[in-house]
Subunit: 374 residues, 2 copies
Amino acid sequence: MPAPRQVFVAVIGPGGVGKCFLNQLSTVTSRLSQSPTAPIYLSLILLARSNKTLHSPTYKSLSLSNWEADLAASNDGAMTASQIADYLAAAPQKVVLVDNTSNQDIADNYPLFLKRGINIVTPNKKAFSSDYSLWQAIYGAAGNGTGAGGFVFHESSVGAGLPVLSTLKELVETGDDVQRIEGVFSGTMSFLFNSFMPVGGGGGSFSAEVKKAKELGYTEPDPRDDLNGLDVARKLTILARLAGLPVENPTSFPVQSLIPKELESCASGDEFLARLPEFDGQMEQLKKEAEAEGKIVRFVGSIDVAKKEVKVGLEKLDLSHPIAGLKGSDNIISFYTKRYGTNPLVIQGAGAGGDVTAMGVTGDMIKVLRALQH
Amino acid sequence: MPAPRQVFVAVIGPGGVGKCFLNQLSTVTSRLSQSPTAPIYLSLILLARSNKTLHSPTYKSLSLSNWEADLAASNDGAMTASQIADYLAAAPQKVVLVDNTSNQDIADNYPLFLKRGINIVTPNKKAFSSDYSLWQAIYGAAGNGTGAGGFVFHESSVGAGLPVLSTLKELVETGDDVQRIEGVFSGTMSFLFNSFMPVGGGGGSFSAEVKKAKELGYTEPDPRDDLNGLDVARKLTILARLAGLPVENPTSFPVQSLIPKELESCASGDEFLARLPEFDGQMEQLKKEAEAEGKIVRFVGSIDVAKKEVKVGLEKLDLSHPIAGLKGSDNIISFYTKRYGTNPLVIQGAGAGGDVTAMGVTGDMIKVLRALQH
């Protein structure tokens, strides 16, 4: 078959990750078009944000160098997911839809896109960590090379650009017995506890470290969105499902929130931060206990596949534990499997940030392109 | 296009890794054939070792459960690479050739196989770390999804099943700037130095640790084949080439051999081991120096991409260095890149052994199958 040498790309969400992705797309587009033996021409045919859209009804390429100004100048309002699906499904070439949002509504429409042959790459956690029925609908609609539907890849939904999901998939697909997955899955939590209780002693009060993390841009605008543990619970949900556990949703297993009950109802993140010092005693107590045992405290997620147990929360760890070596806001993920024996397969590095998250998305796009070209 | 639902598999080298691969192939074959929506039927059509071959001129499936006895009973002698190529190129279905040998002659024939549309997956380091001209011939002949030639994947040629090459390729392909690669790339060297100079003190004489490593099966039959550093140099050659450096061959950069000059000409590995204690003083001296500086000694490979420097040899490292946390015979590989900043992307775990090496090969095979099915 003559390989499809042109592929269309559609991008929803040109914000933080989206902007980095569009930069990488520009580099990749230029490199692929210059292949001496088999050039591939990527064309950006749609750019959408919540209130504006840029697209050409005749599928002409949008500019990768001037998209910001072009989008700002566009008079086209938002398109619904079903309008976008109609537009992409009617395209004369294969399409990769890149969803750089964390929008549940778009995620809910993935099965629709996939059934119509549209390929999806995305860091959107909500698509894969909400109700199990959505997971089943997405993976039921996806062809992923063996059926009629489009490909779906979402490496960056866990650990950003770190090769976490691809590694887990390969362990499972090659028949290894994945026994346990354990790690620090949040850049915010990593930074927070590496500062609050560094190996070797020191560290400020918990509330002071939360404040510092927020000032340095390591937290969400309202730090409670990190401290409630839900972000980590969503990542664990995705990993557990890929390991074969039909986890119902990210609140169907024990998730420890670091928000004191009394502060859950604070009207704002600022009010929360102002009152958090009242509760420093609890965390200080835990730190002292760990210190007395020669341990450190970290916010850990773990999956025991055989026991079908998933949990997220504070744990006291030996100084020789792989997690104790973590630095800055890095993530670490350990896979304990039958083949790897006592020493796990470990992946470590930055698990958040625009560029590394976009890298996972771009890498997924290249995987789809490779499969489409054959 | 109607997807090719049957794919042929040919295996050269049914030894240590080969046996593990054939086990995994059996699992994968059974799983893929049971897919409710899009089954794939894998057929083993050739099994070859250096002096015997098992194959059917009419491409009938060989038995995955009884291959050992069938091969032993076969009266067919060895086939040449070019005979194998003729047989596979004439097959009525796509073929994945799995080369589980470390044979240079077979490696030299990869361009021939690839040009004829045969896909190759292999842990054979020699194919990718010998003269640069062979590397160019292989990658020139490979289509890898964008040309007419077959796919070639060789994840297990570095770090066994650890996702080292796929990660490096993704960093490069998505446009990151890979600045430095550093690590411990040999299970033997890892075990040897983790025992000779453990963090926290202790360890026996160097010659005693070499002897112990041999007894535990961590070295080649002649330990000099590990101690000469060539195995690590081959892996560094592969990584450097993937990072864009046209390294001529694995001896075209500094490689430190741990074989004392005087023992290079020993007639046997046993004679070498018997005389090695005479040279313990040199290693003891190095250990003392490192101790005095609060450091440890490890056998490290590193690539400075900007400076185009590759080197392999002993290094003194701080106790806070990622390599210091290594255990047993694990490998560790750190990628320092522009996107990842000061903290590298780190991959760690068993980098040798039949099952984990075969896992990388099986994983590569699945990648080829995914691409072929579309």
